[in-house]
Structure formats: C-alpha cells, structure tokens
Symmetry: C4
Subunit: 123 residues, 4 copies
C-alpha cells in the first residue's frame, strides 16, 4: 500500500491575475494525487482560511492506478476558492494516496513555480 490516508498542505494562494488564459499557463495551484492502489479513492478536501470557518468537504474521485492533478482553481462545490487569498488544505482518502503540491504563478509572462510534497498525517 503506497501512501497515507490523510495529508495536509499549509500553503495555499492562487494569484488572481494571469498573463495568459491558456489552461496550461493560467496562474494555478494543484494537488497532484497518486492512487497506486487497485481500488477507487474517494477523496475529500477541507480548506482553511485566515479569518473564517473552513470550507468543504470538496469531493474528488481518483480511479485505481491513476493520478489526478487536481487544480484548486476548478473547485466549485460547495464554493469557489477565492483568488489572492491565503488558505491551507487537508486531504482525506479512504485508501492510501500520495500528494504533492504545486503552484504556477503567471502574473508575469515569465512564470514562477514552486512545489513540495504534502505532509503525511500519522493515523
């Protein structure tokens, strides 16, 4: 079994501007989720903010032996993720997964990138 069932990403910030509207180059943050198991992963995200109660759960399915590069930009239900706003996320799955966090900042045409593994929570 590869991974953990609970992960946390303390950093979160989607820049509100993008020099390009090409999907690849829009400013975005992603949680890259690997489900290397043979069962579907039912994943739930909760978002934490600086000045209000958490939002969620957001529900995401990751099929067996698949990856999903889930953009926080695309989350809509129960609510859109605000831009230019600091947040954190906690990710819970019914089967072990592995999670990596990335941001592409394209406020300027010369993009900047960051990435780190998420934090695997002991259970």
């Amino acid at each position: 079994m590869i991974g953990h069932r609970v992960w946390a990403i303390p950093e979160g910030f989607i820049p509100g501007r993008s020099f390009s509207q090409q999907p690849e180059l829009v400013s975005h943050e992603a949680a890259c989720i690997l489900n290397a198991s043979d069962e579907p992963a039912s994943v739930e995200l909760t978002l934490y903010f600086e000045d209000r109660e958490p939002a969620g759960p957001y529900k995401v399915e990751v099929e067996p032996r698949r990856t999903k590069h889930m953009r926080f930009n695309d989350l809509k239900d129960p609510e859109r993720v605000p831009r230019d706003t600091s947040y954190s996320s906690v990710i819970r799955s019914n089967v072990p997964i592995v999670v990596q966090h990335t941001r592409l900042d394209s406020r300027d045409p010369h993009i900047a990138l960051l990435s780190t593994l998420a934090y695997p929570v002991e259970s």
Copy 2:
C-alpha cells in the same frame, strides 16, 4: 490531531530589494501555519543566525481551524528580522500544527519562488 508541536526551517533569507512595494509582490519569506485543531495555537519562533546568538521568542497566535501565512518580514518584537542575512527558524506550538516555508524573491520584476515543508521535529 494533525501535525507536530515543533518544526524547523534551516533556510532563511529575505532579499533586501523589491521591484514593487505592493504587499503581494514585496520580496518576502513566510511560514504558512495550519492549526486544524479546535484549540488556539500559541506559537513561538526562535531565529538562528550565522554569527550571533538566537533572537526571540517571537509570539504568534493561530486561532482554531485557521491558517496563518506569517511573514518573517512583519516580525518586530523582540526585534526586526534583518534583510539580506542568512537565518534559520525553530517553531514551537502548544498544539499540533503543520508548517510550510515559502520565499518570493522580487528583486527582479520577474519573480522567483521556492517552497518546502518544514522539518517536523520528533518529540
């Protein structure tokens, strides 16, 4: 309980120049702190330098179920964090938290970013 009570970030360096004074785009370093617990987190930072004794403790509160993207730039008490100076930090909390480190370098208008999880200290 999500996280650890003690974290370390070996890297620290706030560039002394910024092409813009917009808060989002000023050169800065941050410790993004997630307190997913239901109790307030009383957090204390100690800063380590290359050529003198540590500074601190700096005190930060993070409310229950909240994140705080704390900029090292904004620390003032007991003393300001010097710019263009190498430092490290140790972060202690009374409740478990999760910590991620980021730098935005805007000495040039085409910014650069870095990020990593902090190091969770066994206790």
Copy 3:
C-alpha cells in the same frame, strides 16, 4: 544503508516546448537518484496517468557509490513519456536509494524551477 527501496512522485509534467534545444536548457523533469551503497541498484519505474493504465516498468541501473540524474524525457522503453501530459511515478530499487524530483520549465527564455524530495514509501 541510506534510503528506501520504494519512492513515489505524484507530480509529473514535461512541458512540450523549450526556447532552447541545448540539453541543459530543454524543458525537462528528472528523478535524481543517489545510490550510496556498495552494490549496483536495479531500479524500475512505473508511470501513472490520468486516463489510462500505467506504463512500464522502465529499467535504470545506478552503479555503487554513484548518482544518476535520470531525465523522464529520455525514457523510451517500453514507450516515450508524452509531453504536456500529467503523470506520476513510482520508483522501486533492489537496494536503498534516495530520490529527489526536479523540473526545469523553459517554455519561456526566463526559466522556472521546482524541486522536492520524493515520498519514501514504508515497506
């Protein structure tokens, strides 16, 4: 013994364009593999995608007391890694190794970098 036998990298994306064809500056992703042991490491990679079954195993040898900065761009057998496509990877070795993930994005002449340690899978 330094390292783990199994590692996972949830993020994977090789940009399909590069402003330069110089090997150093072509857009690429790498798994930097350290084999600090005194035995050869037989390494096998499996790639996971968003919409089809995994590809692999890809076989890589890392000699004793050597590093290999293996570019995903160069993998050809059993198949080439598609560009502009999200993937993840799992890396298995017969001896302990340490793995770090990097991307150099040179779609623009002003390159962007990201890096993180891979996730060491408990065994």
Copy 4:
C-alpha cells in the same frame, strides 16, 4: 535534540554561468545547516558523481545555536565542486542538525530558485 545526524541530497548541479558576479546573485547551490544544539557540530560532506568515485570528506564546523548557509561553490578541500556537473551529497554530523537544500540559477538575469528539505537518514 532537533534533527538527525545523517542527511542526503540527491540533486546537485551548479550552473557554470551567472549574469552577475555579485555574491548574492552568482548561480549557486547551498546546504542550509541548522545546529540548534549547545555543542559545536563537526560536519562532513561526501559528494557522489555520475561517473567516478565519491569526493570528500569536506569538513565544515557549525557553532552551537548557529546556522550556516554553506555554498557548495565554496568547497575547495579536497577538491573544487565541478560546475555544470550532476552530483549528490551525504552530510554527516556528530550532533543532530537540520538540512535544507537550495539552488539559485542566474544564468539568466531573471533568476530561478528551487528548495527542498534534505532527506533525514534513519540511524
């Protein structure tokens, strides 16, 4: 006691060019070492390459309650670190330390950054 005695950094690559010779902006890689203990840390580095036997040990001292942002560029004894060459490093200390890896790439005036925690080796 904060940290581990042995750390590994699989990635290593010092770009051979820099748009500026200002110390802050020269292309470089660093191991940021935090010694939060009350004893001096005697640190030894070994460098691993793709096509020859390891180099080292390189010796570095980190005073009690100090950080050292050690540039691989500055290592000279037993030999200089070659530029434009892939390497890895293993870092051993007599007391627990914490290690983070960074690269600043200034081949272009619009710099790129990467960083990650090093890998704490179980002992």
